[in-house]
């Protein structure tokens, strides 16, 4: 178990930012940390990286306690903070050499060349960091986090501000890194989290409201099914309500409806019967499985 968090609580003054959370993360696993703004994701990460101490509870990273062995943890930890702080006046290569020197790595230039290659910075290595575009700065941030081949990698919103192509590259980079590492990753882009992470933990108001493997997460939380249906002729919402019990209807336009319902039976045959009875025709009907987005809305809407 490379990360073990037990009953972690953090106060900022009077305000409780993290409320007694416990979780663990294993080697070779990518854990996605989700939650609305102010849920405690960044605070959790700052405690894991020994930037600030917890108010109570125990956090251990690869067997080291964050309060006693912070230097040991910092040696095996790579961290990309949310705002990706960089020294704008330094050149990319100079900056990475500086980071390698802080980590006291032997053969600095070898490590620098390796991360430049891995993060695709070859073209930008002789530019000042302040001249780089946001996507490239994000890569520099990622490069400094992985230069010492850390056992634990903590990435706070690493993919915000990237264009779709860069997104794919960074995604595959993160995937290629996961061997022998524990990666914790936070983001607001749910599709990305779904495609990168093995496990997802959702925080809300400083508490863990969901912690599950990605394949289990949608099944357990949301039981309702959704059907998207398009009729040939106009049909009113009342007619649908009159013929279908216990449904929620969202009207997209006069012929297109999203119908959600709770229950075992397949509602699609009922909709078909209804269309026949109304002498209408169905152009398209598809069932939408509940997505991570639904789970997210479901577990964070309380309070």
């Amino acid at each position: 178990m490379s990360i073990q968090v037990n009953n972690l609580t953090k106060f900022y003054g009077q305000q409780k930012a993290i409320d007694n959370i416990s979780f663990q993360a294993n080697e070779g696993e990518i854990l996605g940390l989700l939650g609305p703004n102010g849920a405690g994701k960044t605070t959790t990460m700052k405690i894991l990286t020994c930037f600030m101490p917890q108010s109570s509870g125990d956090v251990s990273v690869c067997g080291f306690d964050t309060r006693k062995n912070d230097l040991d943890i910092k040696k095996i930890m790579g961290y990309l903070p949310e705002h990706n702080p960089l020294y704008g006046s330094m050149y990319t290569k100079e900056y990475l050499t500086f980071v390698a020197a802080i980590h006291k790595l032997d053969n600095k230039s070898k490590h620098v060349d390796r991360v430049i290659e891995e993060t695709g910075l070859s073209k930008e290595k002789n530019k000042r960091i302040s001249e780089l575009s946001k996507g490239y700065r994000q890569r520099v941030g990622l490069a400094q986090a992985i230069i010492h081949d850390p056992k634990v990698l903590i990435l706070d919103e690493p993919i915000s501000g990237l264009d779709p192509n860069q997104l794919i590259e960074i995604r595959s980079l993160i995937n290629s890194l996961k061997k022998n590492k524990t990666i914790i990753f936070s983001s607001h882009i749910l599709q990305e989290v779904e495609s990168i992470c093995d496990r997802i933990m959702i925080l809300n108001n400083g508490q863990v409201v969901q912690d599950n493997l990605i394949e289990n997460i949608t099944e357990n939380t949301v039981q309702s099914q959704k059907v998207l249906v398009e009729f040939l002729n106009n049909i009113s919402e009342e007619v649908l309500h009159n013929h279908l019990d216990n449904v929620r209807i969202k009207q997209e336009n006069k012929r297109l409806f999203e119908i959600s319902y709770n229950g075992e039976n397949d509602i699609r045959s009922l909709i078909f019967d209804l269309a026949v009875k109304q002498e209408n025709k169905i152009l398209e009907m598809k069932s939408k499985g509940s997505s991570l987005e639904d789970v997210f809305k479901e577990v964070t809407k309380k309070n």
């Binding site: 230097l71 903070p81 802080i102």
Partner: protein, 244 residues
């Protein structure tokens, strides 16, 4: 510590701070020494570097806060301090790296003034008629004074994320430590009672002592204790984040 030190030095010279500091220091001291007729040694007719050592502390009072104002304030503002603090490096190493880099810049500013010494040495009649002991003492004094100002500047910079505030407050503190104790000791309330003790708390008192060419361990200890005191305060200020 070495990596921080080298990074700071290279950042001084990559964003021009370093060059400006050196140029302005040399420009001001040479104007006062050679050009302005009221203070120029050419009209003074006496082979001494006194002008350099009386104008030096005042120039340092403004220039050193300008060097140190960015040291922590900028890191805080750009949040790069968070980056440094999550690397395997202790607060003390960060502080010392930054401190020594700024002190090195002060040393770089002082080195070219050796030309003034050489010129005055040659201008003396007979050649070399200059109080060498006084000059050496004054150089050591000015360097130690610069080193104290740097520690004050670094401390103030660690308190704020605003560089302007850092500059103004550290200039004020440097001024206080240099002269204020002198002024206070002259107040009639202290006359004859504690005035010598109050006076000895200020930097000017010890600076004048050393400038005479008599390097007393008391004065040297005074300078080093001030430096250690302010660097210790800096480490407390950075350590505030560790409060639970």
């Amino acid at each position: 510590m070495k990596s921080i030190y080298l990074k700071e030095i290279s950042s001084f010279f990559s964003n021009l701070t370093g060059y400006f500091v050196l140029i302005i220091f040399l420009l001001l001291t040479s104007l006062f020494m050679w050009v302005f007729s009221e203070t120029s040694i050419l009209s003074y007719n006496y082979a001494s570097l006194g002008q350099l050592f009386s104008i030096g502390p005042i120039v340092f009072m403004f220039l050193i806060p300008a060097i140190t104002m960015q040291s922590f304030a900028e890191e805080k503002q750009k949040q790069t301090l968070e980056f440094l603090m999550t690397k395997p490096i202790t607060d003390i190493e960060i502080i010392l790296g930054k401190y020594l880099a700024s002190v090195t810049l002060v040393l770089f500013a002082l080195l070219p003034t050796l030309i003034y010494y050489y010129s005055v040495y040659q201008l003396g009649s007979p050649i070399g008629n200059i109080d060498n002991g006084g000059v050496i003492g004054s150089y050591i004094g000015l360097f130690l004074l610069g080193a104290v100002f740097v520690s004050i500047g670094i401390f103030v910079s660690s308190l704020t994320s605003n560089q302007i505030v850092s500059f103004i407050v550290s200039t004020f503190l440097c001024f206080c430590f240099f002269w204020a104790f002198d002024f206070i000791s002259n107040l009639s309330a202290f006359y004859g009672k504690t005035d010598s003790i109050i006076k000895s708390l200020g930097i000017a008192f010890h600076y004048d002592n050393i400038s005479k060419g008599r390097i007393d361990s008391k004065d040297v200890i005074y300078f080093f204790s001030l430096i250690i005191f302010f660097l210790y305060l800096t480490s407390l200020s950075l350590g505030r984040r560790n409060k639970v």
